[in-house]
Symmetry: C2
Subunit: 158 residues, 2 copies
DNA sequence: TATTGTTATACTCTATAACTATA
DNA sequence: TATAGTTATAGAGTATAACAATA
């Protein structure tokens, strides 16, 4: 079984304590994330738009339903969001020849460039804030985020 | 200096890597948090409303400006949000006798009960998902959240 | 008949600009 | 004149209900 560092007695972390910490930490962290995405004026994307675009970019040609499922919204919501991205020239749609009810989505070259700039800017700006942390804290953060991902990204619902 | 477990060689976590992890993990975690707050039908609060109410509840009698600063929105936004909470009977306002421009906010007993129920429900529902994790993962999560809090809650901007 | 997606409608969240009241 | 707050307006994000088109 996993042997632990013998240094200090570790108080066990209960699921309830973690849930509480999640509840009052996550919203602030999201604020910072949002801010990092708005920093480059004139070149911005809301968090939902960013997620939407990033998802479409990394799938080959997802449907509206797939986007909705991924970002966790209803189809009407995804539909209008995608519509805005299409009007902004970031996404193109094509009818699926195999099932004409489906729209296959793709990020345009414009959208791809836009996504790249936003992502890089946000990452840089967040990294700058994180650069104040020591190596131990960074590692702890990374591990915590891994757990978060395994819980809420890789295994969405139970 | 902090001695490390001698088990495996640890790849150093760079601020950039953590920023990337933040960018693609946090939104999903927020989805889960939002869902946990909506679970109890008929007894819900949006995340911003929850933050607003929770802040007012734990301060003695904050002003609209203080709420705006805490949740990171402009005053008009805070003003209308609070107005909704007032109309819902969760918050009461009183003119500050010392400076009649200020409104002093308070959570009503109704609001307090509501907040308690929502918070408990959300915590329980999140805790249930986290209960699948082992003790090590829970600890890692707790530590990661501590780092997140120290970075984005305790020390908002540089 | 079931599924994919859109349209209609309504609310919250959010900002900027313009205004009111008080210091 | 400066500050606290509100009102007006506009747009994004969100949901439910109703509809269209296709399987």
């Amino acid at each position: 079984m996993p042997q632990r560092a013998a240094s200090a007695p570790r108080p066990a972390a209960s699921p309830e304590d973690c849930a509480t910490a999640l509840l009052d930490t996550l919203p602030h962290a999201m604020d910072a994330l949002r801010a990092s995405m708005r920093e480059h004026v004139g070149e911005e994307l809301s968090v939902p738009q960013f997620r939407c675009l990033a998802f479409i970019a990394r799938e080959r040609a997802p449907t509206v339903g797939a986007v909705a499922a991924f970002i966790g919204v209803t189809m009407p919501t995804a539909s209008t969001m995608i519509d805005r991205l299409v009007r902004a020239g970031a996404v193109s749609t094509a009818v699926d020849p195999a099932d004409r009810r489906r729209s296959l989505l793709q990020v345009t070259e414009t959208g791809r460039a836009r996504l790249r700039r936003i992502r890089q800017g946000a990452r840089q700006s967040l990294a700058q804030e994180l650069a104040r942390l020591g190596a131990d804290d960074l590692l702890a953060l990374q591990r915590g985020l891994d757990v978060l991902r395994s819980t809420f990204v890789d295994a969405p619902d139970t």
